[in-house]
């Protein structure tokens, strides 16, 4: 109690110096909060993006590192593609129908082909029996009206029960304008959409796309849609035009910046027929996800299989990387603040060595004086920490604007979470403790006589 009282009074006595220390801590904690709010925001957006998908297992090429949202602006990278056998069996059958033993004879074993997992063993049993549905996904980036747009290629058809695949996998997407183009064709397996197609052989029904809200706004697609018009895309074919069929409702996420088109169109545009970025699998029984993954891995050791949870983990790693990058920048501020705090406490200690000597002479033990220094340092750093959090919250809005320009997104990326606030408070406590460390060591080692005779 006496240590607290003495510490508090010394802070008030040395107002200018206390204020400078507080400013140092404000800058450190503020930059920490502002910078890491972006990483937190990225994590939040990626998580909600992945959670909104109805995917149980993701299949990618082995070693492919893919940002779960694909590339957007400067984010993401060109990930490797999953090679799919191009010469598909014409009578390839659906995963559903494989359960019908009478159809098993239709399956053909194609070595190295992903469809291999459907092949029955010698007894006629399906190797991976729990798969409900699977679709191939691809992504690419093209310029439309001078703006780089990320397109997702995915089946626009229906599953065998008539459910539009779009709705089956990307749940929660609602149309704001136009209608979802639903092909009558059933995509019973991932191959039926991968047949080799030239750009020129695409039908008009296939040269369509759905746009995210923000992209539609930027490219003025509503007007094109209302006029039933088309929009030009630069491809190998000079007059390739796409028709916007629908605009998705605003959802304040990455989806606002994506466009979606039939996968066969996407593959034809990119000349990558037979190659997809990812395969999304739904498993019939959620309890069987791990077993399904294990079986898939057993039969296809060269491919990578991730449950939705693990996929989130991949995004978590990317976020962690972003977190560390931003923390490294914030670290400069933290080091400056810690040094400033340490310097203040050192100056304050050296100025009061005689006072400490007198206190010790009248019976104060070392821990009272050490507590006094620690409390003083903590008061300054916690005040600075709280103010720094407020400054960081304000700063994050400015940083958000910078991110919007840099990554060409307009939704708020910065996300101040309770965890971040707790980290920021812990950081301010850390600065306070480290700042007091050397002065405390000095005081602990100091002899009373030397302290009483101390000359600055």
């Amino acid at each position: 109690m006496i240590a607290f009282s003495l510490a508090k009074k010394n802070i008030i006595r040395k107002q200018e110096r206390s204020l400078l220390t507080i400013i140092g801590v404000i800058l450190a904690v503020g930059s920490f909060v502002a910078l890491l709010s972006i990483a937190e925001g990225l994590n939040n957006k990626l998580t909600s993006e992945i959670v909104s998908r109805n995917v149980d297992i993701y299949v990618t090429a082995s070693g492919a590192v893919s940002l779960p949202t694909g590339s957007i602006g400067a984010l993401g990278s060109d990930d490797e593609e999953v090679e799919i056998e191009q010469s598909l069996p014409k009578d390839a059958i659906s995963i559903e129908t494989v359960k019908n033993k009478t159809d098993i004879h239709k399956l053909k074993r194609i070595r190295g082909n992903f469809i291999d997992f459907l092949n029955p063993d010698a007894d006629g049993n399906q190797k991976v029996p729990y798969i409900k549905h699977a679709i191939g996904i691809t992504r690419f980036q093209k310029k439309i009206r001078g703006r780089n747009v990320v397109f997702w290629g995915l089946p626009f058809g229906t599953s065998d029960d008539g459910t539009p695949l779009f709705n089956l996998y990307l749940q929660g997407m609602k149309v704001q304008a136009g209608v979802f183009p639903i092909e009558t064709k059933q995509y019973d397996d991932i191959y039926s959409c991968l047949e080799k197609k030239e750009l020129s052989s695409l039908s008009e029904e296939e040269k369509v796309f759905i746009s995210g809200y923000k992209i539609a706004e930027e490219l003025n697609l509503k007007e094109v849609l209302d006029k039933n018009d088309k929009i030009e895309m630069k491809t190998s074919s000079s007059d390739f035009k796409l028709k916007p069929e629908a605009i998705i409702s605003f959802n304040s996420g990455f989806q606002d910046y994506f466009c979606y088109m039939p996968i066969q169109t996407a593959l034809a545009i990119n000349g990558t027929t037979g190659k997809v970025k990812e395969i999304w699998i739904q498993v019939e029984n959620k309890d069987k996800i791990k077993e399904t993954k294990r079986l898939l891995h057993y039969y296809f050791p060269n491919l990578e299989f991730k449950t939705a949870e693990e996929y989130l983990g991949t995004s978590g790693e990317i976020v962690k990387y972003a977190w560390f990058m931003e923390f490294a920048i914030a670290l400069i501020g933290i080091l400056i603040a810690t040094t400033a705090s340490m310097n203040t406490m050192l100056m304050s200690t050296f100025e009061r060595i005689r006072e400490f000597g007198a206190l010790r002479a009248i019976g104060a033990n070392r821990s009272v004086i050490a507590s006094m220094i620690l409390i003083e340092s903590l008061i300054l750093s916690i005040i600075g920490g709280i103010a720094g959090i407020i400054v960081g919250i304000i700063g994050s809005t400015f940083l958000d604007d910078a991110v919007k320009i840099l990554f060409r997104v307009s939704f708020p990326m910065a996300n101040i979470t309770p965890t971040l606030i707790i980290y920021a408070l812990l950081l301010s406590v850390f600065i306070g403790v480290v700042g007091a460390l050397i002065p405390i060591i000095i005081v602990y080692r100091l002899e009373i006589i030397r302290a009483l005779k101390w000359d600055m």
Binding site: I2, R13, R354, G357, A361, I362, N365
Partner: protein, 225 residues
């Protein structure tokens, strides 16, 4: 408090070897006695006081405060003795500048957690004893040297110590303040019954003591001034 010093030797490690500060010092001070130690600068007067005040240890010898040999106890107990049984008055007062007059006097009680609930009352009584009660809420920086020494005396006495150690208590004071402070110390010694050991180089100040000792080149002798 009765004090006995037996065969005290104290050396400092100097640049050119050991420097002898105190040599075979033997002294017996009776309870409630007021003694003065005189001597020129650098003869070990302050060291003598520091040994008695448990803030330094001799190289050889024994020092008894009542029946406790303070050379053989650990730092924790020495701290306790300093806090509860010894009062210090310094030439430079060493008041805590962030605390008011009253708070400075209350400080030893707060450190000892003693007189809880009546600390203010007790501190005011001490200020009254040293004649500075009207300035209880003053900033110590606004007091004169004599007034500061009174506050320091009140602080030294507030835990009701058995021994009061005064290191050149009038060293920074003018003649008038010196008289006032010494009169006060004499009164305190008489009224409170506190054994008082004072170090000074001023013979007029030393004259307030019951007995005067002279310290020269580390040796203690009775003085005939």
């Amino acid at each position: 408090m009765r004090i006995r010093m037996k065969g005290i030797y104290k050396f400092w490690e100097g640049e050119f070897g050991k420097i002898r500060v105190l040599e075979n010092v033997n002294l017996d001070i009776a309870d409630k006695e007021f003694i003065a130690i005189m001597g020129p600068s650098g003869t070990g007067k302050s060291t003598f006081l520091h040994l008695l005040g448990c803030i330094d240890k001799p190289n050889f010898g024994e020092i008894y405060l009542d029946n406790t040999d303070i050379c053989k106890i650990n730092e924790g107990i020495r701290e306790q003795i300093r806090l509860e049984h010894i009062g210090f008055i310094f030439q430079n007062y060493y008041l805590i500048p962030t605390l008011s007059v009253l708070e400075n006097v209350m400080l030893p009680m707060q450190l000892a957690n003693s007189f809880v609930g009546q600390q203010e009352e007790k501190a005011m009584k001490m200020l009254e004893l040293v004649g500075i009660q009207d300035k209880w809420n003053y900033d110590t920086a606004k007091l004169s040297g004599g007034q500061r020494q009174r506050v320091a005396t009140a602080r030294a006495l507030v835990n009701e110590p058995g021994l009061l150690l005064a290191d050149e208590p009038t060293g920074n004071l003018d003649a008038k303040s010196t008289r006032e402070v010494m009169d006060m110390l004499k009164i305190v010694n008489r009224q409170q019954g506190v054994t008082t050991v004072m170090v000074t180089h001023d013979s007029k100040v030393a004259a307030y003591a019951d007995r005067i000792y002279y310290l020269d080149e580390g040796r203690l002798s009775t003085a005939n001034i």
